[in-house]
Amino acid sequence: MNDTTFLGMPAFPSAAKSALDNAQLRRNLAHATDTIRGKRAHAVGELDDWEELREAGRAIKERTLRHLDRYLIQVEERVTAAGGHVHWARDAEEARRIVIDLVQATGEREVVKVKSMATQEIGLNEALADAGISAYETDLAELIVQLGQDHPSHILVPAIHRNRAEIRDIFVRAMGDYGTAAPAGLSDDPHALAEAARRHLREKFLRAKVAVSGANFLVAETGTAVVVESEGNGRMCLTLPDTLISVVGIEKVVPTWRDLEVFLQLLPRSSTGERMNPYTSTWTGTAADDGPSTFHLVLLDAGRTDTLADPIGRQALNCIRCSACLNVCPVYERAGGHAYGSVYPGPIGAILTPQLRGTTSAVDRSLPYASTLCGACYEVCPVKINIPEVLVHLRARVVDDSRRRRIPTPEKLAMSAARWVLSHPSRLAAVQRAGSAAGRLAGRRGRISRLPGPLSAWTETRDAPAPPTETFRAWWRRNR
């Protein structure tokens, strides 16, 4: 799986250090996460059954994961009965091969793509390019990343590290190389930038014969796939081409149609801070006279069953990729998404990537330390993933593994991971206030309010690696 690590990526601490030195990136990120935290808090505050919804979301995911085999078989049956074709991929390599073969069988040389974490995770675009197939990303932020030959840095807004002026420059420089060029005199007004993207992509949508997507949910009971989006690029890809190929992680299954009533409330409010995202599409196999006549579903393992095998780490598979945990994370806000060295940045990346990929590389071994254990991520997580608990658990795993393999244990990384945030306590406090207000502390108030929260949490980590030579409290007093 290391083939999909960002090339030449250093371990988290050094990558984060270089991000910290980039003032523009930090400003862009701080502005964006601040905006979205406020929107989320407002959208969540509107629902007085938010905690009940979170609990239901968590429970549905637990039920699904504990009986995943039967739900996967059910998905296969229902999708097949509805006219779709189901493929299984053990790993990234197998998934890439399946998709390339399917595209080649259509005789087409280009595909349009809906933003999909799974296809990024398996490095699909690069593999398609090697096979002579052009893959066009159609989500605005993905387009910015693709045109800028850049890496995504946020789950929801992969180009969050770019401000409007940078985006304008990228459009002006690169759009013409891929199709319709940016209009002359393009300004950096977001409306003008969105209009330029609309014009650039429209010709691609209208002529596309093959689309590749992921799915936010896959309903076992009915075989229905769901894509949640904002811009309408998803609808274009899901509706206009003749062939649709959806690459979906096996953890995206939910048992029943009714279960969507929980997730379609949790996801938009947690993610973009909207009551509902502008567009949600659902489809079940193929429909007569509407949309693609051929539908392929590729069910992807790629480390998910390894994650499932760890009863504590398993909860990382609950994730619905809302990105709320990134937006409240003091380490993410200061380090940026690229420092995490994978398509899954932030707190969820810190617990998911080392489980999906294993902890053989330096970057993946350091990820469980990319946190202060402040708990803000857990408070906002719509499916109640106890990210601090999994982090501590994974640290112990990394340490055991390092001792066994006689490689340096990562205590040093732990020190540096916390230092970035702790050196700015006011910022940390601000982030925590936002996270707490939004996350409704009910039930966990005791732990979080014990001040200083992050520090007590840190020192409480019984399973954590051997403590550094001085306690954080002492270190804190000395350095503040």
Binding site: A59, R66, L264, Q265, E274, T305, A309
Partner: protein, 226 residues
């Protein structure tokens, strides 16, 4: 072993801690969240709430009575300056009665996508609407047409009857048939990809107008004809 059997075998191995006799329903799912009925906040009246929420996300909403629909449809299309609109099969004839016939296109035979791209707009009904979230749901049923019709043109005029409005997401899902391709629309297309600022209007119709038919209570106690 083929990939399918291999993945399923891995899943079963990974779940070694799950007792063999555990059934899915043994994992409790507490559905104490409000399954419907009471929308969380805002005007008590569903028509008003839907209108408020849709407007909030950049759609324009106009309440009309049954008698006013035809004129309101024609007026909206003219005001838009749409030279032609596509009206899908099953759209009530009385609602399009005031539209100039030469402006109306049907999708029979199917309009090529290039033509949809040049057309002035589309006029449809809905399957259901969700007040709490300001959402219109289309299920390709009568008066709605295939999905491309409400996607490629830049203008969408949608007619909702008050009795199609439900309060919450759970109520809407309970009414919908998952075998049909569904599209949930909450305002015109939008993006937050530039500095997380919401910009309305990317790939879908950039203008969404909604007519909500709501008749005043009939003093005789019987519903007015629509």
């Amino acid at each position: 072993m083929n990939a399918r059997d291999d993945v399923l075998a891995r899943v079963r191995r990974a779940l070694a801690d799950v007792p063999d006799d555990e059934r899915p329903q043994d994992v409790p799912v507490d559905r104490r969240y409000s399954a419907g009925g009471t929308p969380p906040a805002g005007p008590p009246d569903l028509v008003q709430l839907l209108a408020e929420r849709l407007t909030d996300y950049g759609a324009s909403v106009r309440p009309v009575t049954s008698d006013e629909v035809a004129a309101a449809v024609a007026q909206a299309v003219s005001a838009r300056g749409a030279h032609s609109v596509v009206v899908p099969r099953g759209f009530p004839p009385q609602w399009q009665a005031a539209l100039a016939a030469e402006r109306v296109l049907t999708d029979e035979p199917r309009l090529p996508v290039e033509q949809l791209d040049r057309i002035g707009g589309v006029v449809t009904t809905v399957a259901t609407a969700i007040a709490a979230t300001g959402t219109l749901v289309l299920d390709c049923g009568p008066g709605q047409g295939r999905r491309a019709l409400t996607l490629v043109p830049d203008y969408h005029l949608c007619v909702v009857r008050a009795e199609q409005i439900v309060a919450s997401v759970p109520e809407a899902l309970a009414r919908l048939a998952p075998v049909r391709p569904l599209t949930f629309i909450s305002g015109p297309s939008a993006t937050s990809d530039i500095e997380l600022d919401r910009v309305e209007g990317v790939h879908g119709p950039r203008t969404l107008q909604v007519l909500v038919i709501s008749d005043p209570p009939n003093p005789l106690g019987t519903p007015l004809e629509s």
